[in-house]
């Protein structure tokens, strides 16, 4: 399914965003990730599957456990959180420019 590989589709879901935020601090097993949510374990597994399919997460076998961690390279596609931050400042500065231009023309 093509749609699942779309990174922005993947991060549009609040639970999946929360999973990504959770994993910014350290890698975790599916069980530990699920314990952070009220959602049923299979639902969390589904989210992990989608995030893995679109390569935002990587799986790593450590002994008997599978750990999930962020795929740094793929996360750069969402610009390491910088892009939304930048967009907010750009909107704000566009507004500044607009306000000051109308202020200038009123003088």
């Amino acid at each position: 399914m093509n749609i699942r590989r779309d990174v922005f589709q993947a991060i549009a879901d609040p639970t999946r965003r929360a999973i990504l935020l959770l994993l910014t601090t350290q890698s975790m097993t599916a069980g530990i990730i699920a314990s952070n949510f009220d959602t049923a374990r299979p639902t969390v597994s589904k989210h992990l599957q989608i995030l893995t399919e679109c390569e935002l997460l990587k799986q790593e076998q450590k002994g008997r456990e599978v750990y999930y961690h962020l795929n740094a390279i793929k996360m750069q596609e969402v610009a390491q959180f910088i892009e939304p931050f930048r967009k907010i400042w750009d909107d704000r500065f566009n507004k500044l420019e607009e306000v000051m231009k109308s202020y200038q023309s009123k003088k």
Binding site: F81, K87, W89, F93
Partner: protein, 154 residues
């Protein structure tokens, strides 16, 4: 549309650089930061107090439906007209803490100017928390908007 604003946040550092060129004389760009009435217009927040001078201070507040949703304040350390503002910034009720901000205003030509903001956080984690904020809330806002559109189309 291409964004005119640059954001630099290097790994392993606790600072952010924000730069932007404006189609405005530097005097007007500086004015946008020094007059309460203008700040209110472009920041979309209420200016409760502002003394834009050496050892001055400011306080911003935004309300929605009677509830305060954003409150920030800071001390203004130094102001050099049309050149520089050095101040602290703290958004209340967040874990981001106090930031030190260096705002540099530069003249490019009679009609163009450049603003460089260097924001220094106490820790790398606080910088990360700041960067994540719009990531989460921005997408939420987009969602709400989509929902509104979906509802209005029913």
């Amino acid at each position: 549309m291409e964004l005119k604003t640059q954001v630099k946040a290097e790994d392993g550092k606790q600072e952010i650089f924000i730069t932007r060129e404006f189609d405005l004389p530097v005097e007007l760009l500086f004015k946008a930061y020094s007059e309460a009435e203008l700040i209110e217009q472009w920041m979309g927040t209420k200016v409760i107090r502002l003394e834009n001078k050496n050892l001055g201070f400011y306080q911003f507040e935004t309300s929605q439906n009677g509830n305060v949703v954003f409150r920030a304040n800071g001390a203004i350390h130094r102001v050099v007209e049309n050149q520089k503002i050095i101040r602290t910034f703290e958004m209340e009720n967040t874990s981001i803490g106090v930031q030190l901000e260096f705002l540099d205003f530069e003249k490019i030509s009679m009609e163009r100017s450049k603003l460089t903001i260097q924001i220094i956080y106490q820790t790398e984690n606080q910088r990360a928390a700041q960067l994540k904020l719009p990531f989460a809330s921005g997408l939420n806002a987009a969602h709400n908007r989509l929902q509104e559109i979906a509802i209005s189309k029913r």
